[in-house]
Symmetry: D2
Subunit: 366 residues, 4 copies
Amino acid sequence: MAAVGKVKVGIIGSGFQADIHAASFQILPEEAEVVAVASPTRGHPEALAKKYGIPGVYHDYREMLKDRDIEMVTINAPNYLHCAMTRDIALAGKHVVCEKPLAMTLEECDEMIDVCRKQGVLLAYAEELFFTPKYLKAKEMADQGAFGRVYLVKQSEKHSGPHAGWFWDVEKSGGGVFMDMGCHGIAFCYWFLGQPKIKSVYCQMGIHAHAGKTKGEDNSICILEFENGAIGLVEDSWAKPGGMDDTAEIYGTGGVSYADLHMGNALPTFSEPGYGYAVEKAPSTQGWTYPVFEEHWNYGLPQELQHFARCVRGKETLRSTGEDGRVVQEALLAGYQSAGTGRKVELPFRPKGVKKPIDLWWNPLP
Amino acid sequence: MAAVGKVKVGIIGSGFQADIHAASFQILPEEAEVVAVASPTRGHPEALAKKYGIPGVYHDYREMLKDRDIEMVTINAPNYLHCAMTRDIALAGKHVVCEKPLAMTLEECDEMIDVCRKQGVLLAYAEELFFTPKYLKAKEMADQGAFGRVYLVKQSEKHSGPHAGWFWDVEKSGGGVFMDMGCHGIAFCYWFLGQPKIKSVYCQMGIHAHAGKTKGEDNSICILEFENGAIGLVEDSWAKPGGMDDTAEIYGTGGVSYADLHMGNALPTFSEPGYGYAVEKAPSTQGWTYPVFEEHWNYGLPQELQHFARCVRGKETLRSTGEDGRVVQEALLAGYQSAGTGRKVELPFRPKGVKKPIDLWWNPLP
Amino acid sequence: MAAVGKVKVGIIGSGFQADIHAASFQILPEEAEVVAVASPTRGHPEALAKKYGIPGVYHDYREMLKDRDIEMVTINAPNYLHCAMTRDIALAGKHVVCEKPLAMTLEECDEMIDVCRKQGVLLAYAEELFFTPKYLKAKEMADQGAFGRVYLVKQSEKHSGPHAGWFWDVEKSGGGVFMDMGCHGIAFCYWFLGQPKIKSVYCQMGIHAHAGKTKGEDNSICILEFENGAIGLVEDSWAKPGGMDDTAEIYGTGGVSYADLHMGNALPTFSEPGYGYAVEKAPSTQGWTYPVFEEHWNYGLPQELQHFARCVRGKETLRSTGEDGRVVQEALLAGYQSAGTGRKVELPFRPKGVKKPIDLWWNPLP
Amino acid sequence: MAAVGKVKVGIIGSGFQADIHAASFQILPEEAEVVAVASPTRGHPEALAKKYGIPGVYHDYREMLKDRDIEMVTINAPNYLHCAMTRDIALAGKHVVCEKPLAMTLEECDEMIDVCRKQGVLLAYAEELFFTPKYLKAKEMADQGAFGRVYLVKQSEKHSGPHAGWFWDVEKSGGGVFMDMGCHGIAFCYWFLGQPKIKSVYCQMGIHAHAGKTKGEDNSICILEFENGAIGLVEDSWAKPGGMDDTAEIYGTGGVSYADLHMGNALPTFSEPGYGYAVEKAPSTQGWTYPVFEEHWNYGLPQELQHFARCVRGKETLRSTGEDGRVVQEALLAGYQSAGTGRKVELPFRPKGVKKPIDLWWNPLP
């Protein structure tokens, strides 16, 4: 494993998110190259490998970890596997990029952070919103004082439901849309405000459109109170028709800004015949649509993964760490507890023995 | 008092809201005419009377109530006076139009409703959002099934703070922005969804920009749960720079709609020299602005007041009643109690002996 | 014919535009009432009369003109009939409201103006853009100096083609989209700039989508040069899919403004099931749509017709006259001549013996 | 000069555009590196070199051309110097990237194309709109049939006037805004439609805001007719207050699309204190602004220059050639001739002995 040249990357997973990783490394090829992909379903990693010209294919990621050239492994797997995979990767001496949310429990988060620290490998938490160009511009403006004192940050992500089947199975995901996308909004508010401590979490959640399909909540509204007096409002939905929505709003005593990644970047378009692709989760390309361009880039995905590769080479310092993921995890747990009790939950909130976050919605701690 | 011809109207108040009433009756003059204005501050009612050609001027509204020709009186006065004025008007045998919120307490609401019922006069609750053309279109679409089952309704009103001084004095207003504009959002969600019972209220509030000026909250976020499973999300602020904001969003299992009364109706404009008027609370007309046109009309104010006049003539049935105002009042009280406890408050919530709603934020009931 | 009370109106026509007139008089009922409708097609005027509660029905408008109570008649008929109808109405001593464009030729315009002047009746030119609330706001701002010196005014109207069959028959319409809607844009620029003389007209036109259906142009781009140095850019199309479009843009040395009557006022909406009505010419209410609210009002149609009624009563002075229509007519003729020669046409341009404007495109004068 | 590794680039110029080139090569550093900058004004190239870490500094570009390592030279110099510089670069055996417009005359264009062909070097025409991500998406959709047959393409670029002084001197620039930015719109329509022959050009131009500063037109409207029946409408202005504007619109028989690079990608923002940077030519960052993010990227500038470097390495085929620049040049000349005569100019139009395009506006050929 030579610490020069492009960082050699192995990808765990072959679904929607793994494809995004492979595509992202191709968009910014200077710092890293994907050399292997591992996924248990026969045919799937082969297809991804073919699509992106990836030489190595494995059906067991533990086999892939034996490849001495691989320096960094990205985890695109159900949440309940994150911890074990991270441990295996770290013990193999490779850097870890773990998709959000970090894990199922705080105990797992701690273990992941510990094992990586002990093994001297990076634990990168794949929160792409820290790299989203439009959001970065908003933060840059905030840091320049554009809004005076920021007292409210809103972030929202909404669509009609996830691609992969395991998201709908709370045993594998740990929860519904709040677990899946609420983690983005929590991380965003925390990051945007400069990482002040989270004081309390309140969360309202329900199953409105997909009761037949999942026990996970498909809509959530979460209010965060931060130590510095600012408020975060995080809205997420798997029950929103009409295509993907990802927005942020910043309110300060001296200004406001509205950042809309989709309708706000798109080409308003009417098409009778339709065309190739509009935007994630768009039900059609006929009629009026809001096609986006350079979708991965405008989320910041290639930039995020390039950053992680540069961190491996010591060129940059990790901007999204396992510790950040742990902060988010605590807020997620507090959110489910809050939804279960109808009460704002004060942090620190470190419940013991919780198997999966959504259990706290159904059976909150006393 | 002849029940034919135009309804003769008396206006209580001579400030910002009274001016809107006078202007609105002029925009739609067919059903009603303002014949008198009453306001204690010498010079103020005279100025309003001159501006709108109103013949009668009083400094004590009780004097005005002696005018036998007046059939309907509109109250544009601090919240703590609503109940007493309503009683006086009703006892004078005249119909009442009361600005929002209906009163300070549920006891007052009950008294207002009772006295009007006994006197056989209308108690119209001046919720103009029931008459806002863009919002009416959204509701019409919802009622046609455009969105499938609506599970989330959002309404938000934000600006930099109210015109009249009494709003900042919680003894006169009963509370801050949640009392002032939260009542709009609560009414809107309730109305839009077809008046289902409100099951619970959660509210987060704080003083972010105006701590030196008021003890009232200047920012609030309120989550309503309705009996039919739908959610309301009501956001209000007196701490939003850049001009007035009034928006609603509708989310259903089959569709979504976004209604923006200001930026969404405006003429995006850049002006170096500036010009007459852009929009309520806009700090300037220079640089980029979002001027609106026919502001009163697009809120539905003339339509609302004309409707009330037509109800007086029996041509229409009241679409915004004292009872509606009472529903809102209960949710307001529950919101303050919730902000004070950090807990969702289940309705019915009928606290006894509360002097003003904001007391529940500071000293919630056990 | 008593010059008191509401102005009694007769409508000629029973199609799309006649319906708009009937609806508009109902929206603002204070000044006028429709008492009769005349249209030759059996069943059509009956249907309109039923829909709007109009007492009088005629199949020959000349019969309707015998009704002594009628004071004002609105013409919603093919362009080639405007002149004869105006003459008949004026000779019957009634005021004329003529839909745009005024006529087929300048000779007809002159005759219409003359006969009305001699008979002492008003000849109102139904250009609703002079009454469109959003456009009025832009003009008000311009007149307040918001844009410094205005050097460019753009107006555009685009949709997929007209409702009534006669528009497609150039013998009855005199031309295609430039005749149908270019007249709006020409009038708009002229009015917005304060009625400076038109110095020259250049026009590019073609048949792009409807060659099988009409000999009239279905797309036109027209550049006007005004005496004061300002430029008008007028774009019109019958070949624009996706629903109606009506926009104006103002460019001055000190500012700019963008006014969009449809997408710019609408509620961006996604609907799987669809709903009642989105906007004129919208092909569907499913998927993403831009529904508008109070469509007639936002065009200014009720306001326009109310104004005409008030002019009949002497309460206001005509803001859109036969002379204005004649100015537009000359520019229309110059536009067709220009399209035929590929040259800018200097005004005055008063060709003799032209039967219909579009003839100049096919056979321009030397 | 080794044809391996990164392409070594020399930049001529040290102003606004040269800075963009230097910045763009840094954004996508994989294929090329800037090794030298040449500009006559003492201090200027030094400053650029310092800002971007460029090792070589020259005050005479001919000295820079002696550097054997340099393989590609980009010209950011007044238009009247393009031809001589291209000749010198080509004769030095280096590839040429020439900023738009290609030259002053068709004779110069021919000479530039010839000398590069003879020397076996690339003549890349720096039309970045061929690389603009949002415009590429529109073209991709068009090529997929989204709009049916495209019959109208619009492109517009407007701001308050250029940075560098020479643009205002028509002896150095050859003309005003039509020369400066009309070339973008002409190239865009031509490219978007798949490079059909241009049949005719009509152009209206005037000096509306900057008569005291330049003899060049500061506003132009240009209509292109293409051989395939489609129309191009190109609008440009140096007289538009409020910041940069760059938009395209596509109209087809089956659909429409609107692409707005600035307001349409921006974060609508209100700021009392202001902040670092909003967008090119924005007069302020206070009040309402439309800040953009990744401005160079969203124009496609890094992508364009990377493409040119890849062409030098034979990895891609030139997508914007000297021949394309020549097509645009002919249309520019035709446009000025048209503005001078008030007539549509049919192509081919190859006037002899024209010193600079704007001469044809003042003294058109007979």
